[in-house]
C-alpha cells in the first residue's frame, strides 16, 4: 500500500527464512539436488579416483560437497522465483512494501545452511566408505574455509536470483548451466587443467577462487592457481563483495522494471 513503511529487513529475512524451511519440509524434492545428487556424484567420482590414491578421494569429497552447496543455494533460491511466477505469487510479493532482496536473502540463507549440511553428509558418506583416514592437512581451517566457499556461492545465488526475477528462463539456465558451472569453477578438478583461454571465465566466479584456496588448505601437495592461498582468499572475498553489491543494486532496478512491464506472472 502506498505510504506504508516497509517492515525492517531482519524481520522480512526471518519470515522468508521460516517460510523457506517450511516449504523445504513440505516439498522434499530439494533433497535431490542438495543431498542425493551430490552423494551420487561423489560416489561416482570416488569409484573413478579410488585407485589413484587418497588425495584424489579428497577431490571427490570437495567436488561433491561443492555440488551440494551449489544445488541447494542456486537451485533452491533461483527455482523459488520460478515457482513464484508459476504460482502467481511473484507479483503480490514484488508489490508488497517489503524489499524483495530481503525475501530472497532469507531463502538463500536457509538454502545455504541446508547446502552446508549436504556438504557435511557427502564428507561423512565418503569418509565412511573409504575405510582409511583422509589426508586432511588442517581439518579446522578446512571446515572454516568450507563455510567460506558456501558464502561465496550464496553471493552467486543472490546475483543470479536478481536475473531470474527478470527472466522466465531461470529454470532453464540452472538446468542447462549446471555442469557448465561445475566445469568452470573446477569443483571436481583444478581449473588449471582446463584450456588456458577458459581461465579468465573461471576467475569471474568467486567459488573458483574459494575452492582453490580450500584445496591449498586441505589437499597435501596441491598445485592449483599459481599465486597460492592468500591471493585466492582475497580474490574470493573481493569478488563475493562485488557480487553481493551488484545483486543489491540490480534487485531494485529489476523489480522496478518487472513491475513497470507487468511481466511478473510470465511463465
Amino acid at each position: 500500500m502506498r505510504g506504508t513503511p516497509p517492515p525492517p529487513g531482519p524481520r522480512i529475512l526471518g519470515a522468508s527464512f521460516r517460510l523457506a524451511a517450511q516449504t523445504f519440509v513440505a516439498d522434499p524434492q530439494w533433497l535431490i539436488p542438495s543431498i542425493v545428487a551430490p552423494v551420487i556424484f561423489a560416489l561416482a567420482a570416488y569409484e573413478m579416483y579410488r585407485g589413484s590414491g587418497p588425495v584424489l578421494v579428497l577431490y571427490a569429497i570437495l567436488g561433491a560437497g561443492m555440488m551440494s552447496m551449489w544445488g541447494q543455494t542456486l537451485y533452491g533460491s533461483g527455482w523459488a522465483i520460478g515457482q513464484d511466477r508459476f504460482l502467481g505469487t511473484l507479483e503480490p510479493v514484488l508489490g508488497a512494501p517489503a524489499r524483495y532482496l530481503w525475501v530472497v536473502a532469507g531463502r538463500v540463507l536457509w538454502n545455504t545452511l541446508i547446502g552446508l549440511a549436504g556438504g557435511a553428509l557427502v564428507f561423512l558418506v565418503i569418509a565412511a566408505t573409504y575405510h582409511a583416514p583422509l589426508p586432511l592437512r588442517d581439518p579446522l581451517l578446512f571446515v572454516g574455509l568450507f563455510a567460506f566457499v558456501i558464502a561465496t556461492l550464496a553471493t552467486v545465488g543472490l546475483l543470479f536470483s536478481a536475473l531470474f526475477v527478470l527472466t522466465r528462463y531461470g529454470g532453464f539456465i540452472q538446468n542447462i548451466g549446471e555442469f557448465a558451472f561445475y566445469v568452470a569453477t573446477g569443483c571436481m578438478f583444478p581449473v588449471v587443467l582446463l584450456p588456458f583461454w577458459t581461465t579468465p571465465l573461471s576467475l569471474l566466479f568467486p567459488p573458483t577462487w574459494a575452492l582453490d584456496a580450500l584445496r591449498y588448505v586441505g589437499v597435501p601437495g596441491y598445485r592449483g592457481l599459481s599465486w597460492g592461498l592468500l591471493p585466492d582468499l582475497v580474490g574470493a572475498l573481493v569478488l563475493s563483495v562485488a557480487y553481493a553489491a551488484a545483486a543489491a543494486l540490480l534487485f531494485e532496478r529489476v523489480v522496478r522494471h518487472v513491475l513497470a512491464q507487468g511481466t511478473a506472472d510470465e511463465y
Partner: protein
C-alpha cells in the same frame, strides 16, 4: 429440441480409434503434459547439456588416470546417459502435470484406449532421446576421440533407437508410480543420477559391490550403453544381439508394468479419492 432424456450412464460414448488416440497424444503431450518440452529446453537438452556433462566427466576421468576408464570410454557412456533427461525425466512428469493442471480426472474418464494414449505420449521423447544421443556421440567421437569401427553406423543407430524406446518405457513406468505418489519428479531425479553411478556410464559395473551390480543390470540404460559401446568397437553380432534382446525385453517389461500400474493405481485412486493429490 427433444425433451426425451436418456437414463444416467446410457449415453452413447464414441471410442476414438487407436491411431487417432496415438497421434493426438503424440502431438499434444509435448505441449501439455511432458516436462521440459519447451523449445529452449529441448535445444539445451540436445546440444548444450550433453556437451557440458561429457566435458565434466571426461576431465574427472583424465585426472583419475585410471587405465580402465579412458576419456573416450566416459564420453561414450555419458553420451548415451544424456538421453535420461528427455526420456525418463521428461516422461515421468506426465502424471504430475495432469494432476497440476486438473486434467487427470477428465483423461481417466475418457474412453480413449490407455495403451495408445501412453505410447503416443512416448513418441516425441523417443525421437528426442535418439537425437540427443546422436549429437552426444558426435561430441564423443569428434572431440573426445571415441573410436568408430568400420560399418558401425547401422548397429549404433539400432542400439540408440532401441535404448530410446526402452528408456521412454521406463519413464512411463515411473509416471505410473506417480499416480500413487504425490509427485514423480523425485523418482525421475533419483533415476537420472543413479544412471550415472550404476549404469556403467562412467566406470565398469565390476567396480561396484555385487548387489549394486545387480541393480545396474536391471536398468535398460546399462544395456543400452553396452550395446552402443559394442557397436562402436565393432564387436561381433553375437554379444550385440544379446544386448539388444535385453534392452528390448526390459523396454517391453517397462511398458507392460506401466500399463498395469495405471490400472491398479487408477482403481486405488478412485477408491481413496486421491486422484488429484499432488
Amino acid at each position: 429440441m427433444s425433451t426425451e432424456t436418456l437414463p444416467l450412464g446410457s449415453a452413447p460414448r464414441s471410442h476414438p480409434s487407436l491411431s487417432r488416440t496415438f497421434w493426438v497424444n503424440a502431438r499434444f503431450a509435448p505441449r501439455t503434459s511432458l516436462g521440459f518440452m519447451r523449445l529452449d529446453f529441448v535445444l539445451g537438452t540436445v546440444f548444450v547439456l550433453p556437451f557440458t556433462q561429457i566435458v565434466f566427466f571426461a576431465y574427472v576421468a583424465g585426472l583419475a588416470g585410471n587405465p580402465a576408464i579412458s576419456v573416450a570410454y566416459v564420453a561414450v557412456g555419458n553420451a548415451v546417459a544424456t538421453m535420461t533427461y528427455s526420456s525418463v525425466f521428461s516422461v515421468c512428469q506426465t502424471t504430475d502435470m495432469e494432476k497440476q493442471q486438473y486434467t487427470l480426472e477428465h483423461l481417466l474418464v475418457s474412453p480413449a484406449n490407455r495403451a495408445a494414449l501412453y505410447l503416443g505420449r512416448g513418441l516425441v521423447p523417443v525421437l528426442l532421446s535418439f537425437l540427443t544421443v546422436g549429437v552426444s556421440l558426435g561430441y564423443a567421437v569428434g572431440i573426445f576421440g571415441a573410436a568408430v569401427a568400420p560399418g558401425a553406423l547401422l548397429p549404433v543407430t539400432i542400439s540408440v533407437l532401441l535404448t530410446s524406446v526402452a528408456m521412454v518405457g521406463f519413464g512411463l513406468l515411473l509416471g505410473g508410480v506417480a499416480l500413487y505418489l504425490r509427485t514423480s519428479i523425485i523418482l525421475g531425479n533419483i533415476f537420472l543420477f543413479i544412471g550415472l553411478l550404476l549404469s556403467g556410464a562412467n566406470f565398469p559395473l565390476s567396480f561396484l559391490p555385487v548387489p549394486l551390480q545387480w541393480v545396474g543390470e536391471a536398468l535398460p540404460l546399462t544395456w543400452g550403453i553396452v550395446a552402443v559401446r559394442d557397436s562402436l568397437s565393432g564387436t561381433g553380432w553375437g554379444p550385440l544381439l544379446v544386448a539388444w534382446a535385453i534392452v528390448l525385453g526390459e523396454g517391453a517389461a517397462s511398458y507392460a508394468l506401466a500399463l498395469g500400474l495405471w490400472e491398479v493405481f487408477e482403481r486405488r485412486a478412485y477408491r481413496t479419492g486421491s486422484l488429484g493429490r499432488f
